[in-house]
Subunit: 221 residues, 2 copies
Amino acid sequence: MHADQPVRNGRAKRLPREVRERQIMDAAVDVFSRLGFHAASMDEISEVAGISKPMLYAYLGSKEELFATCIRRESNRMIEAIATGVEADQPPDVQLWSGLRAFFGFVGENRASWQVLHRQASSQGGPFAAELADMRGRAIALVATLLVHSADSQDVPRAGDKEAESLAAALVGAGESLADWWLDNPAEPAGVVAARLMNLVWMGFGDLVAGNVWHPPSRRS
Amino acid sequence: MHADQPVRNGRAKRLPREVRERQIMDAAVDVFSRLGFHAASMDEISEVAGISKPMLYAYLGSKEELFATCIRRESNRMIEAIATGVEADQPPDVQLWSGLRAFFGFVGENRASWQVLHRQASSQGGPFAAELADMRGRAIALVATLLVHSADSQDVPRAGDKEAESLAAALVGAGESLADWWLDNPAEPAGVVAARLMNLVWMGFGDLVAGNVWHPPSRRS
DNA sequence: CGGTAAGACTACTGGCGAGTAGGTTAGGCG
DNA sequence: CGCCTAACCTACTCGCCAGTAGTCTTACCG
């Protein structure tokens, strides 16, 4: 799980600033994800990063700045992973399906990132919540747009934007929480978990208990 | 929101232990919910409670014990509120609907409790997470049972228990996250938010975008 | 109208962790 | 080869906060 920074015994090899900053950020994400913002100490982060504390301050500023930087970096990585996985010219259900797969794929391969983003950042108040709300807002807006278009393509009177937005919030929330659950019950592959959520939100319990399931249009079965 | 403990100027009136403990717990929930576990100080809690710090320690033990006690008390209150709202002899969708209404009703009237339970407790590791996992587990089990019965009552080959459990987890998660969203967007009454989630999980987006909605059997329209 | 124990307080310690002052090496460039 | 600067370090300060020692006070019981 942790990249093993060979335990510091003496002075660290000299490195260009850019490389060190990456090392430090990686260490910070690791430590923050394991201990949480408050319990994480700058001493421990510097140790994991393989350098001394003043370097930390010289490069990334205060503890709060460091944390905010982590959040920004990880949330960008995640948004990008999802955006890459979705093709805009597909029908709504397929877009949703691709998005979910990309999301669970990312979480599965970046558990530390997810811990920092979801569990830690959202429980500290202050500027961090804003950072997070931003990412979350982008995701919600994306889903809401999907829903509105999807309703437009049918001959149905469109529900209010507000309604679409809160449904989108529920879906995003369901995804977040299912991801948390998955981390505690990691027996199954990402695709299976994604498929479950897809069925839940697209078909609903009403259909599921009646035996109707959703499946990707290209497959049969 | 805060019960106004008239600002301590002198010595507090003498009170029986039981009453003081309640006051202290109320204060603790309030402070923990506003500041989080780490940022909350025992000094502040004692001040809000209207007593001095040694009393806090005399009655509720260490900070961690106090926090754990808060979680237990609030989670019991919540489980009870939901259990009271659901009647076991109703059809599955009605049971689900009652449960959701009770849940959002509770959150709306006990925002501090919810903050402590969901946001704070889940982000501290250690014994707290276990406490929480217990409550969450009870909720998930309840929903899972509902789903399984509901499938049984149709003529459908039952899906695996594992599948039902993860769907239940997704639903519980959706509820939690929608509750969070609601706290940040408190414009609407609890019933409306509950109805949204009910529609999402029972009908699914697939039906919703086609204009089909779920409504309680007793009403029309 | 004492005596006493539970209720309450003031005022401290001890440790941890954020942030810093000031000194030490190593690589690069003339 | 020497010097200069960026990278790096050791070793502190200082404030905050969990937890405690020791004292006072008031309600109640006889």
